[in-house]
């Protein structure tokens, strides 16, 4: 009778040992996934792609570790909990970096937009003062056509800016700005050469 009791006790100890070795840190997993989603929502993939990829890799590694513990008789989730905390911290940093970079790009686009509008205004006025120049009417016609294209590009960039696609707007407005700067420079030089006042 006694030995049966003892056997039962041993079995209970074994089961307790097997089952109580670790509890899946579901709350921490959910928190980490939510933090990653928040980083994604902050467009980390667009504005800090390398950081976001590193974040995803960290989460993959944690998931693999958790799965490896699930495979074991004695589960040990302690290190995973620590890693998940690190993922949350990293995700928050990535989110902040993405927001900061986005803001930086946004401001860069805003500055370029302000600058380009001023240069477009100035250049439009220069056309009236421009001599026909060495290449004559054809060259001026080409410059005017380019100004129309620049205006269309600015409108397109503005629409991308309005929809929050700052990265897309940036290259467009940069190219437009370089073009209008060139035209402005050429016109000023032509006016100067012809002895006109700018």
């Amino acid at each position: 009778m006694k030995s049966k009791v003892l056997m039962g006790f041993a079995a209970i100890v074994m089961v307790a040992l097997m089952s109580a070795c670790g509890k899946l840190p579901q709350a921490q997993i959910d928190e980490a996934n939510a933090a990653i989603e928040a980083a994604k929502a902050a467009e980390a993939e667009v504005y800090v792609p390398a950081d976001f990829a590193a974040l995803q890799d960290s989460m993959r590694a944690v998931n693999a570790y958790i799965e490896s513990q699930k495979s074991k008789l004695f589960k040990k989730y302690g290190p995973a909990v620590e890693d998940l905390k690190a993922v949350v911290t990293l995700a928050n940093t990535v989110k902040e970096n993405a927001a900061a970079r986005k803001d930086e790009v946004k401001k860069e686009v805003e500055t370029l937009m302000t600058d380009i509008k001023a240069v477009i205004d100035e250049t439009s006025k220069l056309f009236a003062k421009a001599p026909k120049g060495k290449e004559g009417k054809a060259a001026l016609d080409q410059m005017k056509a380019e100004m129309e294209t620049v205006n269309a590009a600015v409108t397109e960039a503005q629409s991308k800016y309005d929809s929050g696609a700052y990265m897309d707007a940036l290259n467009k407005v940069k190219a437009a700005k370089e073009t209008v700067d060139r035209i402005n420079g050429e016109l000023k030089e032509a006016i100067k050469k012809a002895g006109g006042r700018i």
């Binding site: 006694k2 799965e67 495979s71 004695f74 009417k137 060259a139 290259n171 467009k172 190219a175």
Partner: protein, 372 residues
């Protein structure tokens, strides 16, 4: 009592040994989780991602990711089974596949991005050359407004591509370059094709001028030759070139004049029919030519009959060589404008009846292009 205690101790020891043995056996027969292989696959995917394999070796990278996802899914499924019933063979297979694909993706990505960067660099250089050729060669050419718009768009696309290229955004650069290439090449080729069609009359133009110079030599008379493409006015006497001036033409100076108001300068063999100066002309001094001559009228009638020009169209007239030039642009309605100073030189020596040969060019397109 002592025996009882010993028995209890022995029973406890036996139980402990049994428990340890059971645990030992359980651990021993539990299959080894494929953690290392999965970690290796994750590391390889991470390395591939750092080399932008998701961009430059998308297919392989995606295959690696899919294989890893499959490995994880199978692993999770196996983990739900009773511990001794688990089999990680499939997990290992997928993990190894993910690792292999990721390594291949990383290597291919480096190769692809290097190749693409090199190709784009060459393409940018080539399109810059095309753009410069258009600017140099067609700078004075009266392009149609639609062509100018295409040219402007092409230039802007090229600029956007260059900006993306500098930022190593190679796929965006590639897309913009393809658009720029289409626009710039179409402008270049279409314009060149138009000019080639126009230059098909080169041998006729040369014949007109050669014959007229020979005639001028024989008759010891003056001859005016206008080279429209070169924007030059030549005055010959007795077959010898005496003066060469810059000439300004009609706004649409390429091609022959067809109808009134087309602002084209006619091509053909004409003569001076009237000399005007002072209040008799708006343009300081003028030498009117006999446009339209019989050949012009014949061509005009043929075109009208064939419907290539409107039945209501008028052939036009009033073409002159006149002053008021020096604007460095083609601004007339079809006349040839010289500076007043140059008009002063030619006006006294050119007489009524002096032949005027107006041609598209005296040089072949190849000569002109090679010079540029």
């Amino acid at each position: 009592m002592g025996k009882k205690i010993i028995r209890i101790i022995l029973a406890l020891l036996t139980s402990a040994v049994i428990v340890v043995l059971v645990i030992f056996l359980a651990v021993k027969i539990t299959p080894e989780p494929p953690y290392q292989e999965i970690k290796t696959a994750i590391h390889s995917i991470s390395a591939a991602s750092a080399k932008q394999a998701s961009v430059y070796s998308r297919k392989l990278y995606s295959e690696a990711e899919n294989a890893l996802d499959s490995a994880m899914a199978v692993w999770k499924r196996e983990n739900k089974k009773f511990i001794f019933m688990r089999n990680y063979e499939k997990v290992l297979e997928y993990a190894r596949l993910a690792d292999k694909k990721a390594r291949e993706a990383a290597s291919l990505s480096v190769q692809n991005s290097n190749d693409l960067e090199h190709r784009l660099g060459l393409k940018i250089k080539s399109l810059e050359e095309t753009k410069n050729k258009i600017d140099e060669f067609f700078g004075k050419y009266p392009l149609e407004s639609e062509t100018r718009t295409r040219l402007s768009k092409g230039k802007l696309m090229l600029k956007e591509a260059e900006i993306a290229y500098e930022k190593k955004q190679l796929l965006q650069a590639n897309k913009k370059l393809n658009d720029a290439e289409y626009l710039l090449n179409s402008v270049y080729e279409n314009t060149l094709s138009d000019i080639k069609t126009w230059f098909a009359s080169l041998s006729t133009w040369k014949k007109w001028v050669d014959n007229a110079i020979t005639e001028s030599g024989k008759r010891k008379s003056y001859l005016i030759v206008i080279d429209k493409f070169a924007h030059k006015f030549y005055l010959y006497y007795a077959g010898k070139l005496k003066y060469e001036f810059d000439a300004e033409l009609g706004k649409n100076w390429t091609g022959d004049k067809r109808i009134k108001g087309d602002k084209a300068t006619p091509e053909g063999r004409y003569k001076i029919i009237k000399k005007l100066q002072g209040r008799a002309t708006r343009w300081y001094k003028s030498l009117a030519i006999d446009y339209p001559n019989s050949e012009d009228v014949e061509r005009f009638m043929k075109e009208k009959a064939s419907g290539t020009i409107s039945s209501a169209a008028n052939i036009g007239g009033g073409i002159e060589i006149h002053g008021g030039g020096g604007k460095n642009t083609d601004w007339t309605d079809g006349c040839i404008a010289l500076t007043n100073k140059n008009m002063d030189i030619i006006y006294p020596i050119v007489q009524i009846g002096t032949p005027v040969v107006i041609v598209g060019s005296l040089r072949s397109l190849d000569e002109i292009m090679n010079e540029n």
